[in-house]
């Protein structure tokens, strides 16, 4: 098993790099750039907008931008004499930038007809492979810091929803199979269709309006009580804030898992070995739980990995409706602003979560199904 895990992790490296490259390309080639958004202000002059492109490094060719993000730029342009300005650079990097006129165009020396240039500072970025994820264009600080600030909220909500979703989903699925064709089964089927038909934002708003506004028994969004005090009390003391977003996120999971589990259980109980168990005179309960459920889990494990990825990456819609300060909301805002460093760190986070999620699914197969051996 250990060898298998190591092999899978090694295989994940090129997948991870491809994912970052594709994401970077998609992001950078999308119409509209960060300057258009950050500088959509008529008080700013054309020169300022052009300067901003140099500051953010988005004037460079795309491969250079990607290399800088991946490997940093401290090796691309450096300062030998310690005057704070770069005096050496690799062949594909400019050592100088043009001075700009008020229109943001390069200034030309009237006498020589040549472009007037200025020295650039040396590169300071180390690149993601050396742990430097760059600074957010919008938040003006480390993209890693921005992500880390949002992770606890997303993990809190994601894990709670996952546990609730899978527990209820599997239980409802098993019971639906046990009571196949009876009232419980019919009700759970109708419930699943209804839940799947309501979009998360609609369900979230309905719940907020009913429990928060009408009954006033649960808070209207947020993660902690609004206080002058900076602290957010520990989770057990503010569970009421988790209830509604958890219901919204878990509802879909319950609906999905219950259907899969029901179908899987029904498939298993029609197998020969179940018939054999029955003919041996085993109790129905033992047949369902010991022989049926364990085998029915195998196809379910396929969905566990992607579910974990989804829940760890945050749900932008739910976080938006509930003003939940998580990664999903951060990701959407960053895409709207074209905040490349933050978009990319979220992509990396999601890519790692995906790779680990699928790996977890495969490991689960091995645990649930004794026929599967990885070594």
């Amino acid at each position: 098993m250990t060898k298998y895990v190591i092999r899978r992790l090694l295989q994940a490296i090129p997948i991870f790099l491809c994912a970052t490259l594709l994401s970077y390309l998609l992001m950078a080639l999308a119409p509209g750039g960060p300057v258009e958004i950050l500088a959509f202000n008529n008080r700013m002059k054309p020169r300022e907008r052009e300067e901003l492109k140099y500051i953010l490094g988005i004037n460079d060719p795309l491969p250079v931008q990607y290399l800088r993000w991946l490997l940093g730029d401290d090796w691309m342009r450096w300062d030998n004499d310690g005057d704070g300005l770069a005096d050496s650079a690799v062949f594909f990097i400019d050592l100088y930038a043009p001075k700009l006129n008020d229109s943001g165009k390069p200034l030309i020396d009237d006498s020589s007809g040549e472009m007037i240039t200025r020295s650039l500072p040396p590169g300071t970025q180390r690149g993601i492979l050396r742990g430097d994820f760059g600074n957010s264009f919008y938040y003006k600080r480390s993209a890693m810091e921005v992500l880390v600030e949002r992770l606890p909220a997303t993990l809190e909500l994601g894990l709670t929803s996952f546990v609730v979703g899978i527990t209820l989903g599997l239980a409802v699925g098993i019971l639906s199979a046990v009571y196949h064709g009876r009232l419980f089964d019919q009700l759970s089927r109708i419930g699943a269709v209804i839940v799947n038909s309501i979009p998360n934002f609609g369900l979230g708003l309905l719940l907020l309006l009913f429990f928060g506004s009408l009954l006033k028994v649960l808070p209207l969004g947020g993660r902690c009580k609004t206080l002058l005090d900076p602290s957010c009390v520990p989770l057990p003391e503010r569970l009421e804030y988790l209830i509604l977003p958890t219901i919204v996120l878990a509802a879909g999971a319950v609906a999905g898992y219950s259907r899969f589990m029901r179908a899987s259980m029904l498939d298993v109980v029609s197998q020969d070995y179940i018939r054999t168990a029955r003919s041996k005179g085993l109790q129905e309960r033992r047949i369902w739980l010991r022989h049926g459920m364990r085998n029915a889990f195998i196809p379910i494990a396929t969905f566990l990995g992607p579910s974990i990825t989804f829940l760890l990456s945050g749900s932008a819609v739910t976080e938006q409706v509930f003003s939940w300060p998580g990664v999903g909301r951060l990701a959407v805002n960053s895409v709207i602003r074209r905040d490349y460093p933050v978009i990319m760190i979220v992509v990396i986070y999601a890519a790692i979560a995906t790779i680990l999620g699928y790996l977890m699914s495969d490991i689960l197969y091995g645990i649930i199904d004794p026929r599967i051996r990885y070594d």
Binding site: R43, E48, L220, I336
Partner: protein, 578 residues
């Protein structure tokens, strides 16, 4: 005896009056509960005014740093001695470029250090270094030098005399130099990355001081014990919480349930309800003109070959002509063909206010007699006929039959784009599409993601793009230079994206800016003529400004918003215990 009675009466009156006033005056600092205000946007990016560049950051900074020059909330104009401003008065030397600012001597930072000219100088030194990442070109281009004369006197010398120099100083704030020097030193370029930006230890000069910041959730300020301008002698609210609420429906529900103290812009969908409940005494409400204008920018130049407005020597570059919008009669026809009442009801819930040009009716430079185009479909159609666009094949869409710039037979077709996801914008242009198609246009409507829309806007490759625009407060009519003068027609980064160039307008804007003596009435007349030109030439269709509706809980005493500022007396707001 009479004298005795008179004295007794006066004493009795004094005692009575004192009894009435005393409970108010004697209120303790922070006794009025916290103000919780929703933030519909994102986190503030910094609490350092030198590098701030987003509205949310300024929302917080303005509560905890004084302005350099305050704005009088009654007249909405810069004024020495205005509440919240460090400058008590200023003198202009005869050369017209040397301004001497006299500063108040009663303001102090939260650590007790007085706020002085050195604090303003620190801001200027950092900003004028050109090393910070903050966009302050206007300031950098205008200020030649500055000198701290003494603790409370600062001289600024500008590069040239003109009538907008005070506006230029709008981004200037005093910053605690004694702290900034220690924290940032002279590393202005590295200022962005300093942790102090979001964890300031010293603020002051305003009603609140910084307390804490919870990313993604809220920013909290506390009452400033040393605030010297408090209406009631001390800052009454315990603090101010700027709480992120990312959904407008939820935001209003939080207000209805009393979780929020105050909402500074009630969404259009809730206005009637809030107004009715306000009239019934359930809330306090206040309506005031909005700071934004909705417009449709019409590309006058050839969209297939965008060009800068001026060459390197400042000479105009031929822009070509938009095949349809290059003719002013078509642009005017679009104006005449807009039924504002229908638009107002259908898209703005009746809250829109028609505008004729790039000026709000409340701005000082608004000229009498500047009227929006009336709805006149007949006039619109006759203008189109005159422009050579007629419907020769009877399909309802006009074609070029002797028009100025389009090919013969080309349909009168335009693509109008606006930002996707904004329901009022989408409703507005859907209605306008119908109205204009009735005239014989063939309008294609596209709702585009905002970033993509802006990139097309600055690339100048569009027919017509509709967005919002914020107007400066106090109004700076010279701002139209950045939108309608050829110097701002820079493909990819200028905002004269419609490539408008009218020599008379250019002259008026320059003259109004540089008028010797800066006589306000003369300047007003000049800007008035400029607005009239813009209205008649229609490089934009100015659609609407609007009123914003502010609402506060009835538990907030002393809530007295003005057009020039909803929070001008925030230090006196008293939130009764609920």
């Amino acid at each position: 005896m009479n004298k005795l009675i008179r004295i007794a009466t006066v004493v009795a009156l004094l005692v009575f009056t004192t009894t009435l006033i005393a409970p108010t005056v004697a209120q303790d600092m922070g006794s009025g509960g916290p103000i919780i205000e929703p933030n519909f946007g994102d986190d503030p990016t910094t609490f350092n005014p030198i590098i701030a560049n987003d509205g949310t950051s300024y929302d917080v900074i303005n509560r905890m740093f004084p302005d350099f020059i305050g704005v009088d909330s009654a007249t909405i104009a810069y004024m020495g001695g205005a509440k919240g401003g460090l400058v008590s008065s200023w003198d202009i030397a005869e050369d017209g470029v040397t301004y001497t600012f006299h500063l108040r001597d009663d303001m102090a930072w939260s650590d007790g250090v007085p706020i002085t000219a050195a604090d303003v100088a620190w801001f200027l030194t950092a900003t004028l270094s050109g090393e910070t990442t903050s966009p302050r070109q206007q300031l950098q281009d205008s200020v030649a030098s500055y000198e701290v004369v003494d603790d409370h006197t600062l001289t600024i010398v500008f590069n040239e005399a003109n009538c907008t120099l005070i506006d230029t100083l709008n981004p200037v704030y005093p910053v605690p130099a004694h702290v900034y020097e220690e924290v940032y030193g002279d590393d202005y370029a590295g200022m962005d990355e300093n942790d102090y930006n979001l964890n300031p230890t010293v603020s002051g000069g305003e009603a609140f001081v910084f307390s804490n910041f919870r990313p993604g959730e809220q920013t909290t300020l506390l009452a400033n014990a040393d605030y010297t301008e408090a209406e009631l002698g001390a800052v009454i609210p315990q603090g101010w919480v700027y709480k992120i609420v990312t959904d407008q429906v939820v935001q209003m529900e939080q207000f209805f349930t009393g979780e929020l103290t105050f909402v500074d812009s009630v969404p259009q969908a809730n206005r009637d309800d809030v107004k009715a409940r306000g009239a019934a005494g359930e809330f306090q409400i206040f309506e005031t003109p909005a700071g934004t204008i909705r417009f449709l920018s019409l590309n006058i130049a050839d969209p297939s070959n965008p060009q800068d407005g001026l060459d390197e020597d400042g000479n105009p570059i031929d822009q070509g002509h938009h095949p349809i919008l290059g003719d002013v009669r078509v642009r005017q026809a679009l104006n005449y063909g807009m039924n504002f009442d229908e638009v107002n009801e259908g898209a703005f819930f009746g809250t829109g206010v028609p505008v004729a040009s790039h000026v709000r009716p409340t701005d000082w430079s608004f000229p009498p007699g500047l009227e929006p185009y009336p709805f006149d479909a007949e006039k619109a159609m006759s203008l189109l006929d005159e422009a050579g666009f007629t419907d020769s094949d009877g399909d309802g869409v006009r074609e070029c039959n002797g028009c100025m710039h389009a090919e013969e037979g080309a349909p009168l077709a335009l693509t109008v784009k606006t930002n996707a996801g904004n329901t009022s914008q989408e409703a507005l242009y859907t209605i306008l599409q119908d109205q204009w198609n009735e005239l014989g246009f063939n309008i294609t409507l596209e709702f585009v993601e905002f970033g993509t829309l802006v990139s097309e806007f600055v690339a100048q490759t569009y027919d017509a793009i509709g967005v919002f625009w914020g107007l400066a407060t106090p109004a700076n009519p010279n701002g139209i230079a950045d939108i309608f003068l050829p110097g701002a027609d820079v493909v990819g980064s200028g905002y004269n994206t419609q490539s408008f160039n009218n020599p008379r307008l250019n002259e008026l804007i320059e003259d109004a800016r540089n008028l010797p003596g800066c006589d306000l009435e003369t300047r007003k007349a000049m800007y008035g003529e400029a607005y009239q030109i813009l209205r008649d030439e229609s490089p934009w269709i100015w659609i609407s400004t609007g009123n914003v509706l502010l609402a506060a809980q009835t538990s907030v005493e002393n809530w007295a918003p003005r057009a020039g500022g909803a929070r001008w007396n925030i230090d006196a707001w008293t939130i009764a215990e609920s």
